[in-house]
Symmetry: C2
Subunit: 299 residues, 2 copies
């Protein structure tokens, strides 16, 4: 019986593991890989080469610690989480079964894809699902952004402060009637494509253009990048029957990262907390570990 | 007129500044010093010398960035915060006046002192107000802990797992009737001093003993360290009339670090969020900056 099982080893899961082990909890991390799937950078404007903090540095250290403590980690996929009377059981793809007195869910979220030709091939080659992470690369370049949620419009506004031109492709009106939508409508560096579909992403090695269709016509827009901002799908299926989730499927947590069920905690992109940067995920993971520790002390 | 004024430059304030500047907000930090007053370490048990992550490393990088950007920082003390119709005004001890469209309060908290002879002189020399940060130093050593809140008892329980002996000095019953209190009562390495006062801390260069009084007698207990766990007093006076605070004076924030007043955000120890480790404060600071940025985009 472990004290704590952590599902997922992205920034939140790795930070939770480091803090839990530091608290001398018998800890097991179950994840398919270490470090999560995304590269995170925080580069201060005008600072290139002088002082750069990357969330990646912090996550890398946590990752090396967990690699060193290999007894504390299983490369596997949790397929089922069962809440028993006084403990939790995790079943895995490899057919293993682990018990713990507490669980932290840090399984992250996956970006919603458009599912069009060229998309998969050009991921990381000009196509990104996180403009908040990569907008800075578009100084004096043209980019397309596909999405119409409040978050997508915020990304477009931010991008428009940096890029030479933003082609904002809106599948429907979305949040365009908001204050921010009005600003984007009036913005000299934003071109709107309202009620347009995105049909294809083209480019040899990197994104070179996007093909859109609207008002009965198909056209090709030359761009150096495409941001797909259709939101994130939380990887919360495992716990969906056990804990409270919101309309978007995100696990609802309190300010201590506790879910609606005692003994189950959650951190990072899988939760309803505002997590856009790796150092926020790290903080949330640390918080979840300290909460679990406090919970276990009182058992 | 600044976009954003950040009050305080501990881990939360420094992280907020880094993220705000990265978002190209016109940012000013007002604080008396940079880096806050406490040293923070996270050393993994058994890891000394191999892989150590210190929150201090992260904070140090933020600090150097802000030192470099000296136009973004005023060494001064905010004495008054005024909320106007569409902006905030900060008045300082040096008689200056700064305006901003948004404010982040990250002024931290100060430990409650006992106010006894020897206390001030031995701070950092065996006397600490944060057992959560320094408990690990007490492997095979004897320590006294003064306090009776739930948090104090958790600290005592954690310390008892590490230290040779914990002398738990309880000014009153406090939370001793809880599950955790019962555990401490039965713990073989905990000696209880119920309804004892702490009268003096003694030691030449480092803590060597504490003088306590209870049951009509005064006695001296030899220890290598004293943890004073009387809680933290949030430095929230500046905003007390402007935003909602809880019974302990902590600023109430939502999961986006927003206070009850639009345009005023708060992060770190000054808030009601569970902040015990520097990397949690860093995450909260980052969150506050991104929230302020989002708020300003919608103005």
């Amino acid at each position: 019986m472990y004290d704590l099982i952590i599902l997922g080893a992205g920034p939140a899961g790795l930070a939770a593991a480091a803090y839990a082990i530091n608290k001398r909890l018998e800890t097991l991390v179950i994840s398919e890989d270490l470090g999560g799937k995304i590269n995170y950078h925080l580069t201060l404007a005008g600072f290139e080469g002088h002082e750069i903090i990357t969330g990646a540095d912090v996550v890398e250290k946590f990752k090396r610690q967990l690699e060193y403590l290999n007894f504390a980690h299983q490369i596997d996929r949790a397929t089922k989480l069962v809440a028993n009377n006084r403990h939790m059981t995790v079943l895995t793809q490899a057919g293993k079964k682990f018990d713990a007195r507490a669980v932290i869910i840090a399984t992250g979220a996956s970006p919603q894809r458009i599912e069009v030709p060229g998309e998969k091939r050009l991921i990381g080659r000009g196509l990104s699902y996180s403009s908040v992470s990569h907008a800075q690369l578009f100084i004096d370049r043209e980019a397309a952004l596909f999405g119409c949620s409040g978050r997508a419009l915020r990304s477009a506004a931010e991008l428009a402060e940096i890029a030479k031109r933003v082609h904002l492709i809106l599948p429907d009106r979305g949040e365009m009637d908001s204050v921010l939508g009005q600003k984007l409508r009036a913005h000299p560096r934003v071109t709107l494509y309202e009620n347009y579909e995105l049909r294809e992403v083209r480019g040899e090695d990197y994104v070179e253009s996007v093909v859109v269709r609207g008002k009965g016509e198909t056209s090709e827009i030359p761009v150096q990048g495409l941001f797909v901002e259709l939101g994130l799908i939380p990887n919360s299926q495992l716990a969906a029957d056990l804990v409270l989730t919101n309309a978007a499927g995100k696990i609802v947590v309190d300010s201590k990262c506790a879910t609606s069920r005692p003994g189950i905690f959650a951190a990072g992109d899988v939760t309803d907390v505002f997590v856009e940067q790796v150092l926020i995920s790290v903080g949330e993971g640390a918080k979840a570990a300290l909460s679990a520790y406090e919970y276990l002390l009182n058992q």
